[in-house]
């Protein structure tokens, strides 16, 4: 509802509602301030134009209203901050679901693609090593390492089951990228040298854009993947075909 009103993409993850609410409230506050303030401004210009009011008044406005408005603005900002933004952030960075309940997937960004790495049925990722990176092995996965055999690696295709928490372990091979799925209201920079967890709960079936939000070179604009949110059965079936075609 708020999303439509603000022209935001359809929300497709559980946490999006709170974020959209915050977005709506801030914009409402902004609108009220702008209209009230703008109305006053235009009225003043008309009423005190030199043609109509040739002799200015030295003392000017005597009311303390603007001070009260300033205080009210400060209070409103404080409420948004403490009531919505900080808690939302806390849950974003510290509210990670336990790994055994979640779909854990690694996303390794590179110029200009998203490498998606699933641990496979054993739930454990095989070892990756930078020396092994090659066009046919974009994440440098060591297939001979203990848990690697059943791992699934795809490019630009992120499949997820609906209504289950997802933890994306985000990293990058080269420069800074930013993992962004506007429909989930999820965005996180991938910083070289760091592995950063991102979590969300997709709750709407469909296909969504996975785009890069940080300038990463001349192909930045076409660094795009697809997130497919599907039923658990469809998801399992997809993983199996991937394993088979490996």
């Amino acid at each position: 509802m708020i999303a439509r009103w603000l022209g935001m993409p359809v929300a497709a993850a559980a946490g999006a509602a709170r974020l959209d609410l915050t977005m709506g409230l801030v914009h409402a506050l902004m609108l009220v301030l702008f209209l009230g303030w703008g109305g006053f401004f235009v009225y003043t210009l008309v009423r005190f134009r030199a043609g109509r009011h040739p002799r200015a008044d030295y003392a000017g406005a005597r009311s303390k209203v603007s001070t009260w408005i300033e205080i009210a603005v400060a209070v409103a900002e404080g409420l948004l901050l403490v009531g919505l933004s900080i808690p939302a952030w806390a849950s974003r960075v510290s509210g990670l679901p336990p790994e055994h309940e979640a779909v854990v997937v690694r996303v390794v960004a590179e110029q200009f693609a998203w490498n998606i790495h699933y641990p496979g049925p054993d739930g454990v990722f095989g070892t990756t090593r930078p020396e092994l990176v090659s066009p046919s092995n974009p994440t440098g996965l060591d297939r001979t390492s203990p848990h690697a055999a059943d791992d699934v690696v795809t490019v630009n295709q992120l499949h997820l089951p609906v209504d289950r928490p997802v933890i994306v372990q985000l990293s990058t091979k080269d420069v800074i990228h930013s993992f962004s799925v506007p429909n989930f209201r999820v965005k996180q920079d991938a910083i070289p040298g760091l592995m950063i967890p991102v979590w969300f709960v997709p709750n709407r079936l469909g296909q969504y854009d996975l785009v890069c939000a940080q300038l990463c070179g001349l192909g930045h604009y076409r660094m795009r993947g697809t997130v497919t949110v599907e039923t658990p059965e469809a998801f399992d079936a997809w993983i199996r075909t991937r394993e088979a075609t490996r």
Binding site: V26, T44, R49, R55, Y58, K173, I176, P192, C216
Partner: protein
């Protein structure tokens, strides 16, 4: 000085010394202003090219497309490499070579000594050196377009590792920045010393025109915020030319090949150092504009500023706080709750003094006798435009909403509202207002009105849709304006509208340029104080002021905005009137 003075002057130093190498702050101020306006035009031209690509992705650029060459636009069709160069250089040129030099180097240099009743800046030769360091920096920046691989292309923010591995243009960018930083440092030392030391007798700090206050705070920001960028630039330069890896962690694989560097560095180090400069820098972009607007609002409403003291405290507080908010540009780099809470809070706090200054300016109009002169039009339009810019800072400053908006067109809309219809309108207001002081002639009001209304409408048509695009999730720095992204379908008409508005905006700037040249020759002549103003540059010297500024150093007897004093003979009482 008498009418012979011009002859006497011509006899002394040759023309080129009087103009190019003069140490007179007025000459240097005008040099700065002209150079900066040329750079603004260059930056604007780069943007018009980008706008073509965004409006009509992949179509040959008309008129100039053929001139760009095969490495930039084969067959007139822009390459992504070149688009990224244009983006990075547009930002760099507009900020570091356009707005700041015009606002500080131009207006600051010309006006500060005049407004405080000083014969010149405290260090005239340093002033000259500052200008030439700036000019050299500008030459290096422009030359970078002809470096192998073209100009810098990693955004005006130059984030490594991308900037570390970019083509030679980035090295030019860094070298140019070092020169520009040097220029700013020399300038800011000069401004602060001048304001503190050379105030005329009786001109206490609380009697300073608001413009002088804004320059004082700005200078402190430049003085203290630029060195960290200089440090950051030196480190990036070392990464690029000496093979260090300050910004490169171990294990990077670029283009399928492991990078041959020692590693162990941190890409976020750059971001911290950069934004520690660059947030104060955005206040460097806005404070002088507020100063100009305050002067013009007081003058054209014929009233004292409402809450002058509070405004002064607010800008000082603003300057101080601007050192404590930098990481609100970095919420999405993996920040924990405590740090994000801290930077969100400081960001909300810093919005309060901005609100105070803005409301004081609006309330100042109440009870006035407002004259809608050309400078007044631009100064008045500044208020709602800056208002939109400031308000849209709120959802960006709240980390939760910034998740959706970060790196989208919403951010572009936000800061352009602050700097383009905001600061640049204020700068235009300043040009129209002080042109008669500098030249002795008025600018044409009819052309001024066309320039104003044309710019006002087109600016809003360009920047207002950016909020829609940003909320819809359209990212910034996209070569193809996102036409191939499924989730951005239906947004393209906005880009077309923005393109045509941008070119129309260009046409309206031609009106301004014509006006400047026409008025230089044909503008109506004015006396010392055509706006019936109170501050010293109008009340105590001729138009234009002579070398040395004042026949005798004026004595100041009152505050800066004594307009419409009850019982006074005129509706303005100059600061130096008995």
């Amino acid at each position: 000085m008498t009418t012979q003075s011009s002859d006497a002057h011509a006899a002394v130093p040759p023309f080129w010394r009087r103009t190019l190498f003069s140490t007179d702050h007025k000459v240097i101020g005008i040099q700065y202003a002209i150079t900066a306006m040329v750079f603004l035009l260059v930056g604007f031209f780069l943007m018009m090219l980008m706008r073509w690509q965004l409006a009509y992705p992949g179509r040959p650029i008309p008129l100039v497309g053929g001139l760009l060459g095969a490495t930039r636009a084969p067959g007139g069709i822009m390459l992504p490499e070149f688009y990224n160069q244009l983006g990075a250089m547009h930002g760099t040129i507009m900020i570091f070579l356009g707005v700041v030099p015009l606002a500080v180097g131009g207006f600051g240099n010309y006006l500060v000594p005049l407004q405080i009743g000083a014969p010149d800046m405290a260090f005239p030769r340093l002033n000259l050196a500052s200008y030439w360091a700036f000019a050299a920096g500008g030459v290096v920046m422009i030359a970078s377009f002809f470096a192998p691989g073209g100009a810098a292309s990693s955004g005006w923010t130059s984030y490594p590792p991308l900037a570390d591995i970019a083509t030679t243009g980035q090295t030019f960018w860094l070298a140019g920045m070092v020169l520009l930083i040097t220029s700013s440092l020399l300038g800011s030392i000069n401004f602060i010393t001048t304001i503190v030391q050379l105030r005329a007798p009786g001109l206490s700090f609380m009697r300073l025109p608001f413009f002088v206050w804004s320059q004082l705070v700005t200078s402190f920001l430049l003085l203290l915020a630029f060195p960290p960028l200089e440090a950051a630039a030196v480190l990036q330069l070392m990464d690029r030319v000496a093979g260090t890896s300050f910004y490169l962690p171990s294990g990077l694989v670029v283009g399928g090949k492991a990078m041959a560097v020692a590693g162990g560095g941190s890409p976020l180090l750059w971001q911290h150092l950069f934004w520690f400069l660059a947030h104060p820098e955005v206040y460097v972009l806005i404070l002088p504009a507020m100063g100009i607007v305050a002067e013009i609002i007081a003058n054209s409403s014929r009233k004292p500023l409402w809450g002058y003291r509070l405004m002064v405290y607010s800008v000082v507080f603003l300057g101080f706080m601007s050192f404590l908010v930098w990481a609100h540009h970095m919420f999405l780099t993996g920040m924990g709750t405590t740090m994000s809470a801290f930077f969100q809070t400081t960001t909300m706090i810093i919005s309060i003094p901005s609100v105070v200054v803005l409301s004081s300016l609006v309330v100042s109009l109440w009870g006035g006798a407002i004259r809608f002169t050309t400078p007044a039009l631009f100064a008045l339009a500044f208020l709602p435009m800056f208002g939109i810019g400031g308000l849209t800072g709120l959802p960006l400053g709240l980390a939760a909403t910034d998740i959706h908006l970060h790196d989208t067109y919403y951010v572009i809309g936000h800061f352009h509202y602050v700097v383009a219809p905001g600061t640049i309108f204020a700068l235009f207001a300043g040009v129209y207002y002080w042109f008669p002081k500098a030249t002795g002639r008025m600018m044409n009001a009819r052309l001024g009105a066309i320039h104003f209304w044309g710019s006002f409408v087109t600016m809003n048509l360009i920047f207002m849709p950016m909020f829609i695009q940003g909320l819809a999730g359209m990212n910034r720095r996209l070569y193809d304006a996102g036409v191939q992204d499924p989730h951005l379908q239906g947004l393209q008409p906005w880009s077309v509208l923005q393109g045509w508005s941008a070119w129309a905006l260009g046409v309206f700037q031609l009106v301004f340029i014509v006006n400047v040249f026409w008025s230089l020759r044909k503008g109506s002549r004015v006396d010392a104080n055509p706006w019936q103003a109170t501050t010293l540059e109008w009340a105590a010297t001729s138009s234009p002021p002579p070398h040395g500024n004042f026949a005798v150093i004026p004595t100041v007897r009152r505050g800066p905005y004594e307009y419409s004093v009850p019982g006074a003979p005129a509706d303005f009482t100059p600061q130096n009137a008995i």
